[in-house]
């Protein structure tokens, strides 16, 4: 039996009058790839923020890797984000005046100490060994997203969160990025939770859940 990495019960997030996420029960296994689909405003990003420790629930229970995120202090939450979670955004948020390798080292710096050799190796793993010294502006969209992946995995997170990571990419680049993520998951054994609008992208996951108006309306396993 696979062990459970994420467990939520009645997880809720309200913003004043608006209920962005209605009580949600969810279990994600260690090493699983979960895709989350839904329309804009369906609560996908809210769920992702709660799982990534970027936001706190209004109510309900949420446990990730044995940590009860409701009771973690601010310092504990920061440590959780630093050591447990890696995030890939649609807008990659790379620092424009730093080179690719320096962007990775920045993530190492916030985690612990920078290590250039390790940062180079990480970029080589995502196929950017020849673009180490290029700044984000000199890279294509797909390459930028690969730098983001290298940045997200450099600190060996157990949970990788993707917020529409291929939203800005063409078909070819999307495929390259998804293949890369798939390979890395096989090597590193991390869990992926990825929010997407794209059915093709969602199909890379082991399971897909559909949210609508803050409620999980459907769940599909791979091959269904």
């Amino acid at each position: 039996m696979m062990d459970v990495l994420i467990e939520t019960r009645g997880l809720t997030r309200n913003y004043g009058e608006i209920c962005a996420l209605k009580p949600l029960d969810l279990r994600v296994n260690n090493g699983e790839w979960l895709s989350i689909m839904g329309h804009s405003g369906s609560g996908k990003s809210t769920l992702l923020n709660l799982l990534g420790g970027l936001d706190r629930p209004s109510d309900g229970f949420i446990r990730v890797g044995g940590e009860d995120l409701r009771v973690l202090s601010e310092d504990g939450m920061a440590r959780y984000r630093r050591e447990f979670v890696g995030i890939i955004f649609q807008q990659h948020h790379l620092i424009p005046y730093l080179t690719a390798v320096e962007n990775i080292m920045m993530a190492q710096y916030f985690h612990s100490v920078p290590d250039e050799a390790e940062a180079r190796t990480a970029l080589e793993r995502v196929g950017l060994g020849h673009r180490l010294k290029n700044r984000p502006g000199e890279l294509s969209g797909g390459e930028q997203q690969r730098v983001c992946i290298a940045r997200a995995i450099i600190n060996s997170p157990r949970l990788l969160l993707g917020d529409e990571p291929t939203g800005n990419l063409d078909h070819g680049s999307t495929r390259v990025v998804m293949e890369l993520l798939s390979e890395l998951r096989a090597e590193e054994q991390f869990t992926i939770i990825m929010v997407t609008h794209n059915h093709e992208v969602a199909a890379w996951g082991d399971r897909t859940i559909y949210l609508d108006d803050g409620v999980m309306v459907r769940e599909e396993l791979k091959g269904d």
């Binding site: 612990s112 390790e118 190796t121 450099i154 600190n155 060996s156």
Partner: protein
């Protein structure tokens, strides 16, 4: 002013107790009792020294002990740096000793004795019978404070297990902070004097040894730079260097400690996390030398700007008789028999000289210039049991006023007459001229 001095002593004792409490992981009660016993014993030792030893001897003994402690601090710090920069040597931790009740008690008692002695020098007057009541009050206050600070200690954040040199650095800094609040126990000013002399000696000897010609041949601007080496600024900075170096050595020993190897770990993030933890731990341990440094800086401040009021009379103008002699009556406008320094100003044909007369404890009189042969002639002020040179802040015990050498006021030949003192005016002017010319020429020209 009195309250300020008291605060300094209480702060120092509190600091010592908290540091010892954090440093030794043995029974709190044992530590508290050892500290309190040591302190009470120290007060008694101080009282005995003050009542049995004549003149400056009791202060000299205490200062010698403090100097020895400072020297030990130096050696321990050197050893620490040696260990931490050695190849293939491991850094031995203080843990074993800090867990041993016997060593903890011994250290606490020894430190208590030192602190108690210093406090007794502040409160107990010199000479005569031991004032039992004062001794009991000071000792009892120390014991009460010990109990109070052991209470406070529990609320102080935990610090990493200190090494011997770290504990030593911080305790010594608190001791020196306390002792520098009593001018006659201050170590820093004499250190500055010694350094000034050492630098002067070394530069002079270097010129002699290396056959470098005299200033006659030098470009004036080059010679002025060399002259800076003789100023009291250099003595001050050199003194500070020696004063702070042990703490800096301890800090360097911590900073230069090799980080443990993480090469056996095969995951980068884990390696970096471990490295970060080691770096952070090392950085935390630097807090202790930093505190020690701050306390030493406070000691320097107290030494340079002592919270003491000086007796500094305005020089009284005197004139010479037609035969060239200056006569100062023992009583009259000024009473020379009060044991205080009395200053006089003699002016003749555009030349002047400042001198002072003092009745010593044996009843005899001394006449000296209001200047020494080393410093610029900023003059002296009188404080309890000593005169202080305003320029270099050195304390000269009253017993040695009238003897030549060092920063002592330059003695002036005089004749003791029935009702007063007679001094040769021309000789006085010449002596002042020679002294002031010598001290203004190269030394301390900065002020």
């Amino acid at each position: 002013m009195g309250a300020l001095k008291l605060t300094v002593l209480i702060l120092a004792w509190g600091g010592i107790i908290i540091v010892l409490g954090r440093g030794f992981s043995v029974n709190r009660l044992l530590l508290a009792v050892s500290n309190a016993t040591g302190f009470a014993a120290g007060v008694a030792v101080g009282a005995l020294l003050l009542s049995t030893l004549q003149g400056d001897a009791s202060f000299a003994v205490a200062k010698a002990v403090l100097s020895a402690l400072f020297l030990l601090h130096w050696l321990v710090s050197l050893a620490a740096l040696y260990r931490s920069t050695g190849e293939g040597t491991t850094v031995e931790r203080f843990q074993k000793m800090s867990n041993n009740p016997l060593s903890a008690a011994c250290c606490s008692i020894a430190v208590g004795i030192l602190a108690g002695t210093i406090c007794s020098f502040r409160f107990i007057p010199q000479g005569g019978e031991v004032p039992l009541l004062t001794v009991v009050i000071v000792g009892f206050s120390g014991v009460c404070l010990t109990a109070f600070f052991f209470g406070v200690e529990q609320f102080v954040p935990k610090m990493p297990v200190p090494t011997a040199e770290v504990l030593m650095a911080i305790v010594v800094s608190f001791i020196l902070f306390a002792s520098s609040s009593i001018p006659r126990l201050d170590l820093f000013s004499p250190l500055v004097m010694k350094v000034m002399k050492l630098i002067h000696d070394i530069v002079h000897q270097f010129f002699e040894s290396m056959l470098i010609p005299d200033h006659l041949f030098f470009r004036p601007e080059v010679w002025n730079y060399i002259g800076l080496l003789f100023g009291n600024r250099v003595g001050l900075w050199g003194g500070m260097l020696i004063w702070f170096t042990p703490v800096l050595l301890v800090a360097a020993a911590i900073r230069l400690e090799r980080l443990p190897s993480v090469a056996h770990i095969r995951q980068g993030a884990e390696r970096r996390t471990l490295l970060k933890a080691h770096i952070r731990e090392r950085r935390t341990r630097l807090v202790a030398p930093l505190i020690a440094g701050v306390m030493l800086a406070a000691a320097v401040f107290q030494s340079r700007f002592p919270a003491v009021e000086y007796w500094d009379p305005k020089p009284l103008k005197v004139a010479a008789t037609p035969s060239g002699s200056i006569f100062i009556p023992l009583t009259g406008e000024i009473d020379l028999k009060d044991g205080k320094i009395h200053k006089f100003l003699f002016k003749e044909r555009g030349r002047d000289a400042r001198f002072m007369v003092l009745q010593n404890s044996a009843g005899g009189y001394t006449v000296t210039l209001d200047a020494c042969s080393i410093c610029k002639p900023d003059g002296y002020g009188q404080t309890e049991g000593a005169v202080i040179c305003y320029y270099c802040k050195t304390l000269i015990p009253l017993e040695t006023v009238g003897k030549p050498g060092g920063c002592n006021p330059v003695p002036v030949p005089f004749m003791m007459e029935k009702n007063g003192i007679a001094i040769d005016g021309a000789a006085l002017l010449n002596l002042w001229g020679i002294t002031v010319q010598a001290t203004n020429r190269v030394k301390g020209a900065a002020r």
